[in-house]
């Protein structure tokens, strides 16, 4: 039972943060595409902005691995 809970906790950690990132990126991506259509010279800045929310899912991933590998 405990194993199931641990696995579930890890899944939640990565799953929720992935949803968060996806949501943020979808909006930033749409806005970025709009900006790019008007000002093509902004491409570098847009890549940065698009990449920023990715940290969330990476953090989630780190937490998930911590849960899986350190909680015994």
């Amino acid at each position: 039972m405990e194993k199931v809970l641990v696995a579930f906790a890890a899944a939640l950690a990565i799953g929720l943060s992935a949803i968060g990132t996806a949501w943020a990126q979808s909006r930033i991506g749409a806005a970025g595409a709009g900006t790019l259509a008007e000002k093509p010279e902004m491409s570098g800045t847009i890549i940065i902005l698009l990449a920023i929310p990715e940290t969330m899912v990476i953090l989630g991933f780190v937490i998930a691995t911590m849960i899986l590998f350190t909680v015994k």
């Binding site: 491409s43 800045t45 940065i48 990449a51 940290t55 990476i58």
Partner: protein, 623 residues
């Protein structure tokens, strides 16, 4: 970058500008701020061109407009390059061109007219061809009138039929045929007396009637057909003739006129550049910027050309100049291609660092660490070599290929360290064993490794920020960066003390140091300072992506190989594995690139690069 002033007698201005343009290493500064010494502003004014130069500008601009008009009439043909010097014969050329332009305009208009006619004739021909098949059922008699129609929508036919039957009391015939392009051609046969009425109601319904040119109005259908055919052939021939003529003209004259246009553009840009120059009663002043390494070269060229009459002087860079100094990225050899990655962002300021060397060192390493597969690395190596060869001339793609080349070498290197060759295929094929860690199982050690890379990178960024702050003599900012570095070290030690090899004893003094340093943060960085520190720590954690993306790539390769094993059939297995590996390679180009770029742009650059530099745009020949 050097701040430079060029001084000489007014008579030599054009020659000096022309020399600068040929060299293409000098950016003229049109604003006088910071160049003209205080107190002397009264004596120095913007250069005003004399009447001859003004009339020359007008003449040249007129010439250029007419040349552009002439070019618009000519077909784009490959021509040889002409090297004539237009200046001595420019008046003659201008006059000849007038005539040529008129002639070409005539030809062009005639051709346009003919093309329009040809299109119309084609329509008639289609119509006639369609109708002639219908005509079998209709006798042509003088008291009948034929109305040709083109109908766009099929549902119109029913409506038309209804309409015409109302008008003609059912004494009509409507035949339709669908043409190749989908339009429907119709032929209405009615008595002469009511044909006008029908025509009018048709135009009210917006159904275009096909009208024949007056020349054929009285002919029979057969005659019409042959007439239209003949005319179409004649028109086609004439169009061909005109095309041939203009082509002949182009091959003969275009090289000369192209050269004249080039020369005119050159001359005009030179004359217009005089507007950015300053003058006193006798001398001209050209102010501007140029790379410091080129100053000597310019000095020598000026000395050679004007034997000392035009002088060049390097001026002292002032505080207020720092915002206006143009920036040029100058990296040599290995680092040059990496400018591509820096150019995607706004340029750094003059006081900031050029981040190219750092991205040149770390980008391929990160890429290699993330991909970390010798097999994929080899494929990318081959790909980059091909790209480099194919796009030898295309600057950006070639640079990209070079970056990929270096990155793929690192991928191979790390692949050998991790013992990966298309996943664990290497182990199965030739007993490749990991030299340090196996990424698939050593998740936690890889995580610590990635985070350590992050610590090194972020702290390096902070140190660079510290130096650039010291260079700017911004003491508070420098102290803030230093505090950040110290606090990060303290926090790392504190975390490390939780693990076995480090004694718990250490944690107490470290906590005290942290408590002492934190208030100092507020003094140097303001209220939001702890947030900044937290951001730095977040940035370090963000380097965990090196492990995370890498793990995903390993697992995908592992799955590909397993799938191959599970298929049961060798051929299908190899195909399935090949497909999955291909996907992984495509991902393996994109995601390590994007992620290591991001690590640079967001985590690293934010620590020391100040954006907002002005691009160096030297006065040079347009290519």
């Amino acid at each position: 970058m050097s701040k430079v002033e060029i001084i000489g007698p007014k008579g030599l201005l054009e020659a000096a500008l022309s020399l600068l343009k040929d060299l293409g290493i000098f950016q003229i500064e049109p604003a006088a701020v910071g160049f003209i010494d205080k107190g002397c502003e009264g004596h120095v004014t913007s250069f005003l061109p004399d009447e001859t130069s003004l009339s020359e500008v007008l003449f040249l601009e007129n010439l250029r407009t007419r040349l552009e008009e002439l070019f618009s009439y000519l077909p784009p043909v490959e021509v040889r390059k002409s090297y004539i010097e237009p200046l001595p014969v420019i008046d003659t050329i201008s006059k000849t061109m007038e005539k040529h332009c008129a002639a070409c305009r005539d030809l062009h208009q005639r051709k346009e007219g003919l093309q329009k006619e040809a299109a119309e004739l084609k329509r008639y021909l289609l119509f006639l061809a369609t109708i002639s098949s219908l005509l079998g059922s209709v006798r042509e008699t003088p008291d009948l009138d034929f109305i040709g129609l083109t109908i766009k929508e099929p549902q119109m036919i029913g409506r038309l039929r209804e309409l015409i039957s109302r008008l003609t009391d059912f004494r009509f015939e409507l035949l339709t045929e669908t043409e190749e392009d989908g339009t429907i051609v119709g032929l209405i046969t009615v008595e002469k007396g009511i044909s006008e009425k029908v025509k009018k109601s048709l135009s009210d319904e917006h159904v275009p009637e096909l009208r024949f040119p007056p020349a054929v109005a009285d002919l029979t259908f057969a005659e019409k057909l042959s007439y239209v055919k003949e005319r179409a052939a004649a028109v086609e021939a004439e169009i061909d003739w005109i095309t041939g003529e203009t082509k002949k003209f182009s091959t003969r004259w275009l090289p000369i006129y192209k050269r004249v246009k080039e020369w005119t553009d050159e001359r005009l840009s030179l004359l217009k550049a005089t507007a950015w120059v300053f003058e006193t009663r006798m001398c001209f002043f050209i102010n501007g910027w140029m790379p410091s390494g080129d100053v000597e070269r310019l000095r020598k060229s000026l000395l050679g050309a004007f034997s000392g009459k035009v002088a060049i002087e390097e001026k002292e860079m002032l505080e207020e100049d720092l915002d206006r100094v143009p920036i040029v990225l100058r990296n040599r050899g290995y680092f040059k291609p990496f400018e591509l990655l820096v150019k995607m962002l706004p340029l750094p300021k003059y006081t900031s660092f050029d981040p190219t060397p750092f991205i040149g060192v770390f980008f391929p390493v990160f890429f290699g660490m993330i991909l970390g597969d010798a097999g994929y690395g080899l494929i990318l190596l081959a790909l980059s070599l091909t790209l480099k060869r194919v796009f030898r001339k295309k600057g950006d793609i070639r640079d990209g290929a070079k970056i990929l080349l270096i990155s793929s070498l690192y991928a191979i290197f790390f692949g050998i360290l991790f013992g990966e060759f298309f996943g664990e295929l290497g182990t199965a094929l030739f007993g490749l064993e990991p030299l340090c860690v196996e990424r698939r199982h050593a998740v936690i050690p890889m995580l610590y490794f990635s985070l350590s890379v992050g610590v090194v990178h972020v702290v390096l960024g902070l140190v660079l920020g510290l130096t650039s702050a010291m260079k700017k003599k911004a003491k508070k900012e420098a102290a803030f960066k230093l505090l950040n570095v110290l606090l990060i070290f303290c926090i790392i030690v504190l975390i490390a003390s939780f693990f076995k090899p480090f004694p718990w004893l250490l944690s107490k003094p470290v906590i005290i140091v942290i408590l002492v340093l934190t208030p100092l943060l507020f003094f140097t960085g303001g209220l939001l300072a702890p947030l900044e520190l937290l951001k730095s720590i977040g940035n370090i954690v963000s380097y965990a992506r090196i492990m995370a993306i890498g793990l995903a790539s390993v697992l995908l390769a592992f799955v590909a190989n397993r799938m191959a094993g599970m298929m049961g059939d060798v051929v299908i297995g190899v195909i399935a594995a090949g497909l999955l590996h291909t996907i992984n390679i495509v991902l393996g180009v994109f995601s390590p690139t994007i992620h290591s770029l991001r690590l640079h742009y967001v985590e690293f650059f934010s620590k020391f690069v100040e954006h907002g530099g002005r691009r160096f745009a030297p006065f040079k020949k347009e290519s």
